[in-house]
């Protein structure tokens, strides 16, 4: 990328000056900056007394998402095959490379690249689930390309039951703990794509997946 153009540099200084003029002060000194950098936000988190897995499932299903539970990771290919048959999908899927090692059924065409325009089904690993709202969190990367989350009509997401956290703040901690830092895209997904732009009528499958199915492992 090009170096900052002069105009933008001037604009930057002018805007910051205008902000400081409005606040009637000079730039903050080192002590003030250190205090702001050390600030720890403690906002109210909505309380609930539900078991995390129960709450996750109840909330996710309330927005037209579907959830099934399997005992172990080995049961995943059979569960995906059953889903495929139920929705009459072709034997082809874009699968996150993190799920490469699974014994996918004979005859399937599996790939781990980005999703193309004709992709019908993707299977992705979730970084975690968030019980507060019943949402999935997926981190982009070679193990889970973002196009898998949005291009196919059907999105199957694999979530370890032990990876369901209580609040959004707990999910941010998992992101902060990643050695590779923030992913390019962090997608929090709370059900199938929807729109209410025509006469306030909710219609699923606006631009993203028409169905989002969670397979809870364990």
């Amino acid at each position: 990328m090009n170096a900052p153009a002069n105009a933008s540099g001037n604009a930057r200084d002018a805007i910051l000056k205008s902000v400081r003029d409005a606040l009637r002060r000079d730039p903050l000194d080192a002590t003030q900056v250190a205090a702001l950098d050390a600030r720890v936000p403690r906002h109210t988190r909505p309380a609930h007394d539900e078991d995390l897995v129960t709450r996750f499932m109840r909330k996710f299903e309330s927005r037209a998402g579907t959830v099934e539970r399997v005992a172990s990771r080995d049961a995943l290919p059979a569960a995906v095959e059953a889903y495929r048959l139920a929705h009459r999908l072709p034997q082809r899927a874009a699968v996150g490379a993190a799920l490469k090692d699974l014994a996918w059924p004979e005859g399937w065409l599996i790939h781990h690249e980005a999703a193309g325009i004709t992709e019908a089904l993707a299977v992705s690993p979730a970084l975690c689930g968030i019980a507060e709202t019943g949402s999935l969190m997926l981190a982009s990367g070679p193990d889970s390309p973002t196009t898998h989350n949005f291009v196919p009509d059907d999105h199957v997401v694999v979530l370890e039951a032990t990876r369901i956290v209580d609040h959004f703040e707990d999910a941010w901690d998992l992101l902060r703990a990643r050695p590779q830092g923030m992913p390019r895209a962090t997608n929090i997904i709370s059900g199938p794509s929807r729109t209410a732009d025509v006469e306030q009528t909710i219609q699923l499958g606006a631009h993203g997946p028409r169905r989002v199915h969670v397979i809870l492992v364990g």
Partner: protein, 468 residues
């Protein structure tokens, strides 16, 4: 878009007589207001969160320079680039510059009110680019060559039949008449655009200083396809949208969906941080953020600072009786309803939007539902005061106010006139309503005036005291 806020009165009359618009507005009001109320009832902490959100926004605004600098550092560290735009023209130049440099032919757009504010689409189209709005509502109004009429539901004024007509004209027949068919048709048409796009432009609901991320919340997934499939992702956002950390963004996320569409959460909350990494299989090669001032830093200086807390949820317009009667287009610019009536004169000039601060009954519903507790009625009253000071108020109105003041400061005269008026109005009423009133056709043409009972409040009050 060219500002037409000074045509508010004419446009309101037009709107009130537009049957399609009135049908659409009635439906929207019921949906948004009812769903929000249900969500608020389900979250006992809601009021507490509003108070915390107000305080957090005030903290950010008090240290806005610091958080903007921190944010810029973090974006740069993540491989992205921050651009600063003093006004709309600068913002357009920056975005045009990026699009031209990468030889953009197709530009897809997720919903962005700032891009409306800076008139971006026309500038790109003038330079030969195909600009495609991908939010379904935005797509509909782009086909209709209309501006949005609501900040979160841009096509809320359109009926299904109107959408059918627009789609048939744009995509060819056969004409689709059912909502699922219409949504499917838009899905199919726009799919192709996402994959062809050179540049994808989205807004930014929040900018996170901690991580250098931009956050968007959507239900359709169009903002995600827009930013993931284009070669370049450009975020447009106002400078006031920065928040210190992800935890701070969470506070607003808990309020935004509930206040806006009456959902517990939107379907997609997307946190974008920089361009595609070396080992990523998809995502844009470049990530740019255009920070737009356009009058915001000036607002920070005075009594309108509270307005910068706005998170653009639209609850104020959903609950506004004036917006509910005339819809968004009557307001004549980008931001309608109570928040628009404050922002428009502040961004475009007091004399460019005289009627907007006056088109308010000061009923206070907007303030009572605002997730960041902006005292909108107070700000509107303050704008009226400024109009008066700057001699923008029309002479007739000033004289009328002068007469009223003269009378109101003479209690005996005031009460006597009040008694005459109350009895006269009660006399011409039929079944408690007045259908026609001389010199007040502006009021009674479109609705009945509730008639007084014949005695004034003070008379009743004194009668009651006499009884005790």
């Amino acid at each position: 878009m060219e500002i037409r806020s000074n045509e508010f009165k004419e446009r309101s009359v037009f709107a009130i007589h537009d049957a399609n618009l009135q049908t659409a507005l009635g439906r929207a009001r019921y949906g948004f207001v009812g769903k929000r109320a249900l969500q608020v009832a389900e979250l006992p902490e809601f009021e507490q969160l509003r108070e915390e959100a107000k305080n957090l926004k005030n903290h950010v605004l008090d240290h806005l320079d610091h958080y903007l600098e921190r944010y810029e550092q973090a974006v740069t560290a993540a491989g992205g680039r921050v651009h600063w735009a003093r006004d709309a023209a600068e913002a357009r130049e920056i975005i045009l510059g990026i699009c031209k440099r990468v030889g953009a032919r197709t530009v897809t757009k997720g919903k962005s009110m700032v891009s409306e504010e800076i008139d971006l689409n026309d500038a790109l189209i003038e330079h030969g680019m195909e600009v495609v709005e991908t939010d379904l509502g935005e797509y509909i109004i782009q086909l209709a060559h209309e501006p949005p009429s609501h900040i979160i539901a841009p096509a809320v004024h359109k009926t299904k039949d109107q959408v059918s007509d627009l789609f048939e004209a744009a995509h060819g027949g056969p004409r689709k008449t059912q909502i699922p068919e219409l949504v499917d048709e838009a899905r199919r048409v726009l799919r192709d655009k996402y994959f062809r796009a050179d540049v994808g432009i989205t807004g930014g609901n929040f900018l996170v200083a901690e991580t250098g991320s931009s956050i968007i919340v959507t239900n359709e997934g169009n903002g995600d396809l827009t930013q993931t499939l284009a070669k370049v992702h450009i975020v447009t956002s106002g400078i006031e949208r920065v928040v210190p950390t992800l935890d701070d963004a969470t506070l607003f996320l808990r309020l935004l969906a509930r206040s806006a569409t009456g959902q517990e959460t939107e379907t997609y909350t997307t946190i974008s941080t920089g361009p595609r990494r070396a080992d990523d299989l998809d995502g844009p090669e470049e990530y740019h953020v255009v920070l737009v001032d356009n009058g915001r830093s000036k607002m920070l200086a005075g009594r309108f600072r509270d307005m910068l807390r706005c998170i653009r949820c639209g609850a104020c317009m959903n609950h506004c009786p004036v917006y509910g009667a005339v819809g968004g287009h009557a307001y004549g610019w980008v931001y309608p309803g109570p928040m628009g009536s404050v922002l428009t004169p502040l961004i475009k000039g007091l004399d460019a939007a005289y009627d907007l601060p006056n088109a308010c009954t000061l009923n206070g519903r907007c303030q009572s539902v605002c997730p960041v507790k902006i005292p909108l009625p107070e700000l509107l009253r303050e704008l009226r005061h400024l109009q008066h000071q700057q001699n923008i108020t029309p002479v007739m109105q000033k004289r009328a106010l002068g007469v009223w003041r003269w009378v109101a400061t003479r209690p005996k005269l005031y009460h006597a006139l009040e008694q005459i008026a109350a009895r006269a109005l009660s006399g011409i009423a039929r079944r408690g309503r007045i259908r026609r009133l001389p010199f007040a056709g502006g009021w009674t043409d479109s609705r009945d005036l509730p008639a007084p009972t014949g005695r004034t409040f003070l008379e009743l009050w004194q009668g009651k005291r006499g009884q005790q």
